[in-house]
Subunit: 326 residues, 2 copies
């Protein structure tokens, strides 16, 4: 009985504590105000903008929105390391692009073959094993891999202000989903621990898989064939497919999130669209219209008319990464 | 403050009320005992079978497990009615199977073309409109359509004992998912109201969809092309794709659920596999190994070795449908 009581007390005090100082890593300013005004509006029972808990769905892009994406998507860096680890059993890779380039640390040569080269890298490193084997490999990698510039673990390069937004939304009855162009199974390895988002609330790109019985033991085997690319116009389609309900809030950072933002904010009632604008060359990276990774151009153009909040990272975030600050 | 207090009191008393008499539509017997023993085991903190809340995932087939599937899948009956409703704008259907058969109330002739005929019916009735339009049509249909034999609304032909299982599991910290061969968007129209399962916890078969801007308004348009058939070996693949975590409990009724049951119950720790066996020709239908719809053969063979619970509907359920009893 004591434990239950303690839980109730926690339940009663937690929202109050949070309400006293939500979003501490956000400076007072237009973005923090817009997010908090929206949450107050949709949670105000009896108010004009009230939204029932079940419909409080918020979606977040991952690369560049929840964690860093420079100098390259983390998933590509994972694949590069996997190619190197797998190379001893693939002697033929020494003479064959894109693998040759990776083994010679010449990523440019490896990726010269464009999308086809990228797909070869992805399929060689993400298919041909069971889902359990892939998870174990990915978990190992996250334990040991370090970012080439910061020396941090990749899971330490998540944005503290965004962690606070997700927590704040959940404390206000929202369900938070990740809707990313990244591979769904790679994200699920860390999403629960790092973001507090359970696997069933992670939506991503995927390759096909097949069910098999091996020695009377069922396994799911990842196949070297694309299933779905969850980017651009694919995002609202995947949201419809996985979530089946239009979100009321969407957070992105690039043109890959344009349609997700459009779809989310075109619904009836209060809507929140947020773009994380990378403006801080000192503490993170500064890029937008001309960047290859995380290009933000059309979405930035549409932001004013569609009333999307554009977050100026440099001016509005007093901390970038958790714990150690910048 | 009063409202919050009332909520807390409700929160405190609800589990106790439920615990006093769970599963009232189940007669005392092996199935009820097996389900309750399993739940007690996985919720016993500190016990040998304890499972953390986040991992308490239970999956349910729909047709024949949560609602009736005779004389034909509800989705087919929906499609038949839609063909009839759409026929005035398709004069060519009068001379063209499978539509001709449907318009002449000769379903056998309509389905003589096998899978190809079925796909034509599905695509004509499920594609070519926006997701919003489809939802509205489906919701209208559920309002007015009645089962040819019982005269009940289809959403009244859900199994009261299974509603109780889902509620009982949720009261014990489980997340309940539907994993059905049926079309995901049709189920989502009623799943939340009827089963208490939100759209994001409904997994099903699907056709492709595309995002479009129409007059500056974003829409998602259903395409006449299969995306995924969520049946047999497809079920564990979809569970992996959507849920990303192996369930600890699975409920099915046919060989379409065989691999889902295998995948679920082969995991480590306590596992529950349940087969609803249709044995009640009087109050419902009696069928198994030789039935075209809901064929239960191999799964019935594997049940003893894999320790799946086989529910004898006739003997173990004291009520079939909600409210009016049988």
């Amino acid at each position: 009985m004591f434990a239950r009581y303690a839980l109730i007390v926690l339940f009663l005090t937690l929202p109050i504590t949070l309400a006293a100082q939500p979003l501490p890593s956000w400076n007072e300013g237009k973005s923090r105000t817009a997010i908090m005004d929206f949450v107050e509006l949709v949670t105000d029972e009896g108010g004009p903008g009230f939204v029932p808990t079940a419909e409080r769905i918020a979606v977040f892009d991952n690369d560049g929105t929840l964690w860093a994406e420079k100098p390259a998507y983390t998933q590509l860096l994972f694949a590069v390391d996997r190619v190197k680890a797998m190379a001893p059993s693939h002697p033929e890779w020494k003479g064959e692009q894109p693998f040759k380039g990776i083994l010679e640390n010449d990523l440019e040569a490896a990726l010269a073959g464009g999308e086809e080269a990228l797909m070869k890298i992805i399929m060689a490193t993400h298919a041909g094993m069971t889902t359990g084997e892939f998870e174990a490999e990915a978990a190992d990698w996250f334990e040991t891999a370090r970012h080439p510039e910061t020396g941090k673990a990749y899971t330490e390069m998540v944005y503290q202000p965004m962690l606070e937004v997700m927590e704040y939304l959940r404390a206000n009855g929202f369900k938070t989903f990740i809707v990313s162009g990244g591979g769904v199974e790679l994200m699920r390895v860390f999403a629960e621990e790092v973001y507090g988002v359970p696997p069933e609330q992670v939506v991503g790109s995927s390759i096909k898989a097949e069910f098999e019985m091996r020695n009377n033991e069922p396994v799911i085997v990842k196949q070297p064939e694309l299933n779905f690319i969850n980017d651009k116009a694919g995002k609202p389609v995947a949201i419809n497919h996985h979530i089946g309900r239009r979100p009321i809030a969407a957070f992105g950072n690039s043109d890959g999130d344009l349609q997700m933002l459009q779809w989310t904010t075109a619904g009836d009632g209060p809507r929140l669209g947020v773009i994380v604008h990378h403006t801080d060359a000192e503490r993170e990276w500064a890029y937008d219209r001309k960047s290859h990774v995380g290009k933000l151009d059309q979405a930035l153009n549409e932001a004013p008319d569609r009333e999307w909040v554009v977050v100026d990272m440099k001016a509005e975030w007093n901390v970038i990464y958790p714990d150690k600050g910048q």
